[in-house]
Symmetry: C2
Subunit: 666 residues, 2 copies
């Protein structure tokens, strides 16, 4: 589906409402009313079995009756009981209508029958190349064509924000909130069950719209992780894309599955993928609404530069101290703070605003206020509004802390597009998200979803076979050989003896690793003991003894990958050895590593200063570690049959790296 | 100052307002009006140079003229220019008035002259045993005597919350917010400049009040950290005490100093002290206001048990998933979640509430809602209010997400003391704070501020002298001797040679440590080289060579203490060696360690599973480590001249511990 094909979906010349009713309480009628009152400029066709007139318009008994020759630019909105939906979709297709929104519920979310019906519709719609949104959704608002095709009231103005929500319930809460805040937006898309159109097709279309300041997405499941990363990595070069992913905890993910009936991507995959794409990560609804708040400043977001420092004005020293604490916590550059003192009136704020905003380095400016004796909240708000008009390129934020005494001033600021927050920390945390995005923006490169270029697949996770695979990809290993008591002279001593077998074994736990065998006799004795203790296992195809030289120098790292069904292989690097889980010093990223990205991943580890030669200690070969990571990402692409691969320990020294152990799960 | 002495301060039988004016805009008059309209039941005496009548009451020219024999229960509120304040305080003292609030600004916060004046007043007030609040404060609300002695409007009802604020500006914002939320409180104390009364005297008084559900304190500087820890550790056995400390970042602390003109305690000291005391830590104003919100449930906080699980009701699956994510993030026990689906009306909520609340294990219950087609926000709120009345022991929280459509329902919930939050995560984070407090409550023991029982003080941080000090306190060390080339046979080999000197040196950085000297010859050669390289230093009293046996077994830990001017010695334990700063695995607590607290401190380290024998590896002697920490805390008490002491590395093995290096700063 190309982005072009959604042109008429977002900009229809006519809308047919199937299920429009004379009963004002019916959803179909509410949608019709919203389309009319929203001021949609195209033709509006109510469709109702009984025909006649609805809401002052001629109703048609079926879409087939809709006049005109070229029906492609018609958008059909279907709001009838689930059982009749498929038939109407077929009629739409027959009439040549390509763009359809199915509002009706009663599909995948309602049980087996609904799921089957939805699958049939999806197969049909794909075959007919229909752009079908839903089912079980709230609809679409596209302010560029003044279209409110939802059953919720919405703002009528046209803004620069796109809002995508998988949940209709959260979508309707957002629309209600936006209306209260008098915040305009450009698109609102309720994704619903995503039978055909998902977030990815919508994001693809948004690439073509250059009037966006922010894209905010609420997702419960991710349709195709690699495609999502690819789309956001492109879109976020131009405008910030923020994602709130529900179900990131194990318990939340279980609940999301029971709720949406689908598998969610693994949390670490989602985080790694979105970070790679340069997306803004939202932790919760407060984050989401606060980000919408800060974006409401007429395109100023686009002017944000990564060297900007946040400055403060306050009539309460304590607020400034708390704000600076939060600025520090967010690792944000801080400019200056001006305390106008507790008896500051609006005039003193105005004088300070004029003086401070002249300073080119002041941007953004957070104006804080608490109600005290001489405080004039509304006139102070007016002074801020005037200042913001004089400096259209600067971002001026406000936080008026209090209740009754400051509410009218807050409302006034909102109406005049000054982002206003209940507490300073909300303004600062939102600015930190925008600033963090701007810092990363230039570094983000387009993500290329990986093409399956399969090598001869690996048959099993056999131990020595696994080492041979590493070798083919240029990842050095400690010399590893099958134990043979006729070859004792060939091994290097001190030696390590390992009982190797199915990948699920944890060798150290099972006492299957014997270290520091000083000579052939010791090795032979150890082999006898291991064989005796594990008589039942040894002899099966997958279990045998292997010998390696003992490595006593170097530091132990771990590298590996795990294949996520949605996001592809995720590469891991960190402190290794038996303390991997104690150090908890692991970083994960997407599988498209090059040397530069591998190096920056290594630099983000806590252990990095040690690798780089802490306090005059020796340096480790970081470049070799990065090369091993890049090789690993090539290996992951070449062998899609491998679900998981861990090299732990990977010994690193000043000279290079060597895999000490490898575990592959097919 | 005993807690008893504030009895009349909080419960005066009469109030004199010095600076009461006929001009309704003057602060003195606003205070008088607030006292009258608040319904204060005692006598009210306006004091004004001109006498006559003010606000319908007889005014006195001076406090000396106030009639009556026993003036102790009179509270005097002074709101006149700073220059005249001292004189009025003297008149109060002469008249026998012990309780005084100085509202006037123009003291410490305004510069050198103001600071000097405030110091004079403080010395006088202490000598005369006056309970003096302020100066530069907002005043006092004590709802037990229906007294609003501030110049802010305040709620008139009597609640169960005490609010202490060092900042008048943040205090006035809180009063305004509380009024908007119709939230009642018991005491509001604006601490101002804390010339005489500080948070500690107020907290001491609150120990006697058994009708408190919550004490919330906003502080910019801490008067006496050890005393604060002691007071909160006692108070928090009975009711939660929450603290928002401004200036916890370096930059914030600098700004706080410039604002309050005083030294703040070190951040780690403040955190360790408040954690020891069982206080609830607040990160920001949102935390503070949300905690006030959740407390508003008529004494239900006291009934919270540490085994409670949070349950959910929702009409939006997405909200439940996000809520469960947040519950996981906060490591809270989770009960059940009931999705009433998007078309739930008030009746369905009511039925569900009745059914779910019957389950004894459901408490707290968070009821969530977003506005959808069939949603009835106000009737749903009414159903919640009825359910809360039927289950007075259960904590029922609400989060109605949206804007215009849910605002009336939110207001209704607020008016009926149902804690209602904009977003579910705010309800959950606040519950997590209360729950965390309840979990810790039983473990908190009263903190005993340390009495200076000085031993013979240490003259310097000399290296071998420091080891002898450790020995006196029973902390084992690696045998450490001064290098003497006539004694080469006496040392154990392999040996370590160290150039020791002033504590500020970082030996490893300076190449002043030579490891693994296998025999006497190697040691001698190393000594010659070190002497040659450091010719200028060696020979001074404090720099010489020391010899230790090389330790090759065991793991390196760090233990130590640092004395905070306010909080006393703070004990530290963590992963040691040269990677201390990489592992960042350090825990800090107050200096009153016993074996049990030392063990629980060690258990909170990331490395603890390793010390305790990870995966069948050997166990380290954790009891010996704990004993060393307890000894260290005794040493810290015995030697107040020591500012800082670090033992790094402290070797730990299965048998015990031994200090490998020690650094003392006097």
């Amino acid at each position: 589906m190309s982005s072009k094909s959604l042109q008429h979906f977002f900009n229809p010349t006519a809308v047919a409402v199937i299920g429009a009713s004379r009963d004002r309480k019916k959803i179909g009628r509410q949608i019709l009313d919203n389309i009319i009152s929203g001021g949609f400029t195209g033709k509006i066709y109510p469709v109702n079995l009984e025909g006649g007139r609805i809401a002052g318009l001629s109703a048609y008994r079926t879409v087939a009756d809709i006049p005109g020759k070229n029906p492609a630019p018609i958008l059909a909105v279907i709001a009838i009981p689930a059982a009749f939906v498929f038939n109407e979709i077929k009629k739409c297709a027959a009439r040549g209508i390509k763009n359809i929104i199915v509002i009706s519920a009663g599909f995948k979310e309602s049980g087996m029958n609904g799921r089957r019906l939805e699958e049939e519709i999806a197969i049909y719609a794909r075959a007919k190349r229909l752009n079908l949104l839903g089912p079980n959704c709230l609809g679409l608002v596209s302010s560029v064509s003044r279209l409110n095709a939802t059953f919720s009231a919405a703002c009528s103005g046209s803004g620069r924000i796109a809002l995508l929500s998988q949940s209709g319930a959260i979508g309707s809460a957002a629309l209600d909130w936006l209306r209260m805040k008098k915040l305009n937006f450009r698109y609102f898309v309720s994704l619903g069950n995503k039978a055909v159109l998902s977030e990815n097709q919508i994001l693809d279309y948004l690439q073509t719209d250059h009037d966006l300041d922010l894209v905010v997405t609420y997702l419960e499941e991710i349709d195709n992780g690699e495609q999502l990363v690819s789309l956001i990595s492109r879109l976020s070069k131009r405008c910030p894309v923020a994602v709130l992913k529900a179900g990131i905890s194990q318990a939340g993910s279980r609940l999301a599955r029971s709720h949406t009936g689908a598998l969610a991507g693994s949390t670490s995959a989602v985080r790694a993928g979105l970070e790679r794409a340069g997306a803004i990560w939202l932790d919760n609804l407060g984050d989401l609404f606060n980000l919408l708040t800060i974006t409401d400043s007429a395109g100023r977001l686009a002017a944000v530069k990564p060297d900007q420092k946040m400055s403060l004005i306050t009539n309460a020293g304590g607020l400034a101290v708390l704000a600076v604490d939060e600025i520090s916590r967010s690792s944000l550059p801080f400019g200056r703070s001006e305390d106008l003192l507790g008896d500051a009136d609006a005039k003193r704020y105005q004088t300070a605003l004029n003086r401070i905003l002249k300073d080119k380095s002041v941007n953004p400016l957070l104006v804080m206020l608490t109600p005290q004796t001489a405080t004039e909240p509304v006139p102070t708000a007016q002074a801020i509004i005037r200042a913001a008009r004089r400096y259209p390129d600067k971002m001026i934020l406000a936080s008026f802390v209090g209740g009754t005494a400051v509410n009218p001033a807050r409302a006034l600021l909102q109406e005049n597009n000054i982002p206003v927050f209940d507490y300073p920390e909300e303004a600062i945390a939102s600015w930190a998200k925008v600033f963090g995005y701007q810092e990363k923006r230039k570094l983000v490169t387009p993500y290329q979803p990986h093409q399956g270029s399969t090598q001869r697949p690996l048959a099993s996770g056999d131990y020595l076979e696994s080492f041979r695979l590493l070798k083919r990809y240029g990842i050095p290993s400690v010399s590893s050989r099958r134990y043979d008591d006729t070859q004792l002279r060939r091994y290097s001593y001190p030696a390590v003896l390992k009982l190797v077998g199915p990948a699920a074994w944890h060798k150290t736990d099972r006492g299957g690793v014997i270290l520091n065998l000083k000579n052939a006799a010791a090795l032979k004795a150890a082999a006898l003991k291991l064989k005796k203790d594990n008589r039942k296992m040894i002899g099966t195809a997958s279990a045998y003894l292997a010998v390696q030289p003992q490595v006593s120098s170097g530091r132990e790292m771990i590298i590996g990958f795990k294949r996520d069904e949605s996001f592809g292989p995720l590469i891991l690097v960190g402190q290794g050895g038996i303390y991997t889980e104690i150090a908890k010093d692991l970083k994960i990223t997407t599988g498209d590593l090059n040397q530069a990205r591998a190096l920056s991943l290594i630099k983000s580890l806590n252990i990095y200063p040690v690798l780089n030669g802490l306090r005059g200690q020796k340096k480790y070969n970081i470049a070799a570690l990065a090369r091993a990571l890049v090789s690993l990402s090539r290996l992951a692409k070449g062998h899609p049959e491998i679900k998981e691969l861990d090299i732990n320990p990977l010994f690193i020294t000043g000279r290079g790296v060597a895999a000490g152990d490898v575990r592959i799960i097919i």
